[in-house]
């Protein structure tokens, strides 16, 4: 089990939000709203999943080894979106190009010619597992 570090700000908050025993009560005492990253990053909780980027075989793909991507199955693939696709038995992030009769899965970096475009017909929507909504990376 990993030890959990208690953030400094939490400890500080615990000190500050206690009963005010004397003196003028803090006008900010009732203000307890906090910015919640989950609310920002997860729009549809039943359909949102996290993946970790494992292998990167191209430069300039916005995604690096170890990044966490947020994938929302509630979002219909749109032209130019990045999506987690299931190809040849593994998950791969591809760029989706929508066409009137289906879609094409392109490498995330357009300049990369090592990976051929993959056409998606009406019968294989399952190829596209979910649309990438955010990329979380370490600065």
């Amino acid at each position: 089990m990993q030890p959990h570090e208690i953030e400094g700000s939490e400890a500080l908050e615990a000190l500050m939000l206690g009963d005010v025993k004397a003196g003028f009560p803090s006008p900010a005492e009732d203000v307890r709203e906090k910015l919640d990253l989950m609310k920002l990053l997860v729009r549809h909780s039943p359909s949102t999943f996290f993946f970790r980027i494992d292998g990167v075989s191209m430069v300039d793909a916005d995604m690096d080894e170890g990044d966490i991507i947020i994938v929302d199955r509630a979002i219909d693939p749109y032209d130019g979106c990045k999506a987690v696709c299931f190809i040849d038995g593994e998950y791969t992030v591809k760029k989706v190009q929508l066409k009137p009769d289906g879609a094409t899965l392109l490498p995330c970096n357009d300049q990369n010619s090592r990976y051929k475009p993959i056409p998606v017909g009406p019968g294989d929507e399952f190829l596209i597992w979910g649309v990438v909504t955010y990329i979380i990376k370490k600065a």
């Binding site: 549809h44 039943p46 359909s47 999943f49 494992d54 509630a74 593994e90 998950y91 992030v93 090592r114």
Partner: protein, 421 residues
């Protein structure tokens, strides 16, 4: 009008969410300790693997047909179940979670122009958003909705949803529906009906009211009415607190020493206390039991149990764990290999009904309550087992889970990997 949403082969379907490669391949999920098959994909059912089939008996089929075998992964199933529930709650203001993979939706008073399309839409949305296939039956009563959802599983062309309401359709379905598969018909009622040559739900419905009232208690009568389209089973969208709480497991390896047995029982007791507190109940009486492997012919057998009567109602982790361990020490007999043990709260009350005893030490009780709620908070926020009593050992219940899949949705270290190409 009611809907029943039932996840198809739920545990097996959960295993496929992050493994699309398993689509089309037979999948089974094993019970605790990898004992027997508790969930089977349609392909596994087609191979003749029965519900509850012991794993060792089907090993040859597993190899021959390349079955994908999983140990139970309740973290994953619980999370996926919660996701499906969230989707369902968009389709009715009242959702009654009936089990981990089933929920009733109360559609009364809602304006639904095309219930059949509604059922199909709910199913499609669950599949799209959570990747779990769900069968949705809509009918005038809960009992009929359950039958309608079973039809969806039988007939893929219903596309996961079915509205069953016309009397002639209901008759047609009930004529072919085995009475023992009707919701609410227990094993004893089924035996009774079988001796009366009543085989189908339709034959059951044809019995005169007088004989139903004579032969069955109120629940059987309700089922009889419900099958005829008269709703009489209450909708329960608030979970009634349970009247007893049981945590018991069999062990992967037999336990012969007292300390080892105490550790396991302490874990069960801690988990019992947690469940008790979650439903705001307090324990009055608790039973602790442990026994040897009944299926091992030559081994010496023993069964021990102790009843603990608490001096006053308690929901205190330490009191429950301490008493359970003391009871275990009493019932333990050296020289036996214990295979299973458990803790059952046999008598409980709601915390607001608890009466303090004359000799209650209020200050101490308040201290204990603060400790217990801190334990709850820590284990809720940082995962079960974050804080333990020393007697719980490493906090792990000794089970074999050789084939367990990652906790894809509940542990950062286990989230699925994806490459960029």
């Amino acid at each position: 009008m009611f809907a029943l949403a039932d996840c198809n082969n739920f545990f097996a379907s959960c295993e496929r969410v992050f493994r699309p490669d398993l689509n089309g391949r037979p999948v089974i999920v094993l019970s605790n300790n990898d004992g027997c098959a508790v969930a089977r994909s349609n392909e596994a059912k087609a191979l003749g693997i029965k519900m509850g089939a012991p794993f060792f008996q089907i090993k040859s089929i597993v190899e021959k047909y390349n079955l994908a075998v999983f140990s139970s992964n309740f973290a994953l199933y619980g999370d996926m179940s919660h996701r499906v529930q969230q989707v369902l709650s968009r389709y009715s203001p009242c959702v009654e979670q009936y089990s981990i993979d089933e929920a009733f939706l109360d559609l009364r008073g809602m304006n639904i122009p095309d219930p059949d399309a509604y059922a199909k839409q709910i199913s499609a949305k669950c599949k799209r958003l959570t990747a779990i296939p769900v069968s949705v039956g809509i009918a005038p009563t809960k009992t009929l909705a359950k039958i309608a959802s079973k039809l969806c599983k039988q007939y893929p062309k219903l596309r996961g949803g079915c509205y069953m309401h016309r009397p002639q359709d209901i008759e047609k379905v009930l004529r072919r529906f085995p009475v023992e598969d009707v919701w609410g018909i227990g094993r004893r009622s089924a035996a009774k009906l079988s001796s009366m040559q009543v085989r189908t739900a339709w034959e059951f419905v044809q019995l005169p009211e007088t004989s139903i009232r004579k032969l069955f208690a109120l629940p059987g009568y309700r089922t009889w009415l419900e099958l005829q389209g008269t709703p009489c089973i209450e909708f329960e969208d608030t979970l009634e607190p349970r009247q007893s709480i049981c945590v018991s497991r069999s062990f992967a390896k037999e336990i012969t020493d007292c300390q080892g047995l105490c550790e396991q029982v302490a874990n069960f007791a801690e988990s019992t206390a947690h469940k008790l507190r979650a439903q705001k109940s307090m324990a009055l009486q608790m039973a602790v039991f442990a026994f040897t492997n009944r299926f091992k012919d030559n081994a010496p057998q023993t069964y021990g149990s102790r009843l603990v009567v608490f001096p006053e109602a308690t929901a205190d982790h330490s009191a429950i764990v301490r008493s359970a361990v003391a009871a275990t020490r009493e019932l333990y007999r050296p020289g036996y290999g214990y295979k299973k043990a458990g803790v059952v709260i046999v008598k409980l009350i709601q915390e607001d009904a608890a009466v303090g005893s004359l000799f209650r030490d209020d200050l101490q009780a308040r201290k204990n309550e603060r400790i217990s709620s801190s334990i709850d908070t820590l284990n809720r926020n940082f995962g079960p087992g974050t804080i333990l009593f020393g007697i719980q050992g490493d906090g792990h219940i000794k089970m074999s889970r050789e084939h367990q899949s990652p906790h894809y949705t509940t542990l950062w270290s286990d989230i699925p990997k994806v490459s960029v190409k």
